[in-house]
Amino acid sequence: MTLATPNPIVCLRGIDKTYASGFLALKNVNLDINRGEIFALLGPNGAGKTTLINIICGITNASSGTVSADGHDTVRDYRAARATIGLVPQELHTDAFESVWTTIKFSRGLFGKAPDAAYLEKVLRDLSLWDKRNAKIMTLSGGMKRRVLIAKALAHEPKILFLDEPSAGVDVELRHDMWRMVRELRVQGTTIILTTHYIEEAEDMADRIGVISKGELIVVEDKDALMRKLGKKQLSLTLRHPMTNIPAELSEKSLELSEDGQTLVYTFDSQKEETGIADLLRLMSKHGIEFKDLRSSESSLEDIFVSLIHQSNTVNS
């Protein structure tokens, strides 16, 4: 699948990755990430999300294909490309014996930036780490270590920030702080690519969604468009008297009866001009089916994600 945009900040073409063990981790991945967007990459464990991020960042070699970051090829012009990228890895890899201040100073220097104590102070204050600047990393909690990794990734003022499962193992407060910071970074013009298992967060935060399954990018879509296109709406009617089966005249409708016969669920496409609800209610009245309550619900991104992965697995098998 290719989704070309006019001025992408990250551009992947024909990326394949086969590990030495023979495991095919990525198959012909083509993807453009827009400048200034929040892009959420979703996929089950082992789908290839981290491999894809590692290839863009230079940690893993692609078997074939090209990657550019901010217009620079990540292999031929790796210096310019990597200088634009910050990475927060999934695992809490830290220098246990270093202080917070020393480690972010190191990160800024490593990425070729001159020292700038004022900027680093701002980063630490934004992440509520300033009071911990002299603490050894080994003395910090898991959540604090996660903040340190974010501070390290931001130390060289990257244009592109990769957050690989940043919410894993952090408490609610930190998660909210983190997403507030992500939104602020986006406002400042940073492009953010994140992978997450908290799909509601992707639903809440992302501008676009990519779904990867078994190394293949199966969907790349504007989040709202994806929700509209693949999302379903349902009307649940709680019946006054339980039913044993749906009358023949109603069976052509997309209806499901609950096991206890108490609830009738009608699934419809909310984007269509004619939802069929009026017709359904008329037919129910005709058959003397009364209801005492009704409520409507919409598919979450999680429902869509599960459905896409299920479809992909069915096609592959």
Binding site: N54, I59, N61, R79, A83, I85, K105, L110
Partner: protein, 253 residues
């Protein structure tokens, strides 16, 4: 060139030394002092001169080399192994830094520490045994060249090792025996003719011989051969490190 990147690595590694000063500096100085007391004073006083040099003074270059080799390998191998082991290597691999710049940072810091330690041991030796340095420039040149070469070798061991046992196995089972058998405590001319030939396959012989020549003007092998062998090993190590970074050997999957 990523000067800030080189300096960041260099300072990071030097800070590690000063944080572990007892292990990095005090331990090798104490060990070498014990050698001087036992071999230089206690046993050396009962031994005759070798090529006109007292035994206590004769062993100084060899003992300095013994520490220099061990510390160069240990510092540089640990420097690159630890980020691999702790997982923080991701930052180096994703940074806009070339293999040469990374090597200057890591190997430069390891070699600096080794040279400082070598000079400290020489100063310590002065407290036990009087000695002269006939060629101070060449003495420092050998010290520096050996420190850089064996720091590079240590860097390779650190790249190759994927556990602590592998990190120790080459220094303990190969380098230390080669150093002891490389003429640290004797002149190879004191060996039977056959072993004199065999010992020439030991690269440490050339280092100790050249280093000793810079002190006393006496050498077991030609000084030019000593320099040539050391430079050859340096080039071989550099080539391997270049290849390792180019292919991602033990670094990139």
């Amino acid at each position: 060139m990523n000067i800030h990147g080189i300096l960041a690595i260099y300072r990071f590694e030097m800070a590690r030394t000063f944080r572990t000063v007892a292990q990095s500096v005090a331990a090798p100085v104490l060990t070498t002092s014990l050698y001087f007391i036992v071999f230089g004073k206690a046993i050396g006083s009962r031994m005759g001169d070798i090529n006109g040099v007292s035994y206590g003074a004769f062993i100084i270059p060899g003992l300095v080399m013994l520490s220099l080799l061990n510390e160069s390998i240990s510092n540089a191998s640990f420097g690159i192994f630890m980020p691999k082991w702790a997982g923080t290597i991701y930052e180096l691999l994703s940074a806009p830094i070339s293999w040469g710049e990374a090597v200057i940072g890591y190997v430069g810091a390891a070699a600096t520490k080794s040279v400082m330690l070598g000079l400290l041991i020489l100063a310590t030796a002065r407290m036990f045994v009087p000695y002269e340095v006939a060629h101070p420039f060449w003495m420092f040149a050998f010290l520096l060249l050996t420190a850089v070469t064996f720091s590079l070798f240590g860097f390779i061991i650190g790249l190759w090792a994927d556990n602590f046992q592998k990190l120790q196995v080459i220094p303990m089972l190969i380098v230390t025996p080669l150093t002891f058998l490389g003429g640290a405590f004797y002149s190879i001319n004191m060996l039977p003719p056959l072993w004199q030939k065999v010992t020439l396959f030991n690269p440490v012989v050339y280092l100790i011989s050249g280093f000793r020549w810079s002190f006393y003007g006496i050498a077991d092998v030609n000084i030019a051969v000593s320099i040539g062998m050391t430079l050859g090993f340096l080039v071989a190590c550099l080539t391997f490190v270049w290849w390792a970074f180019k292919t991602g050997y033990k670094l990139r999957t």
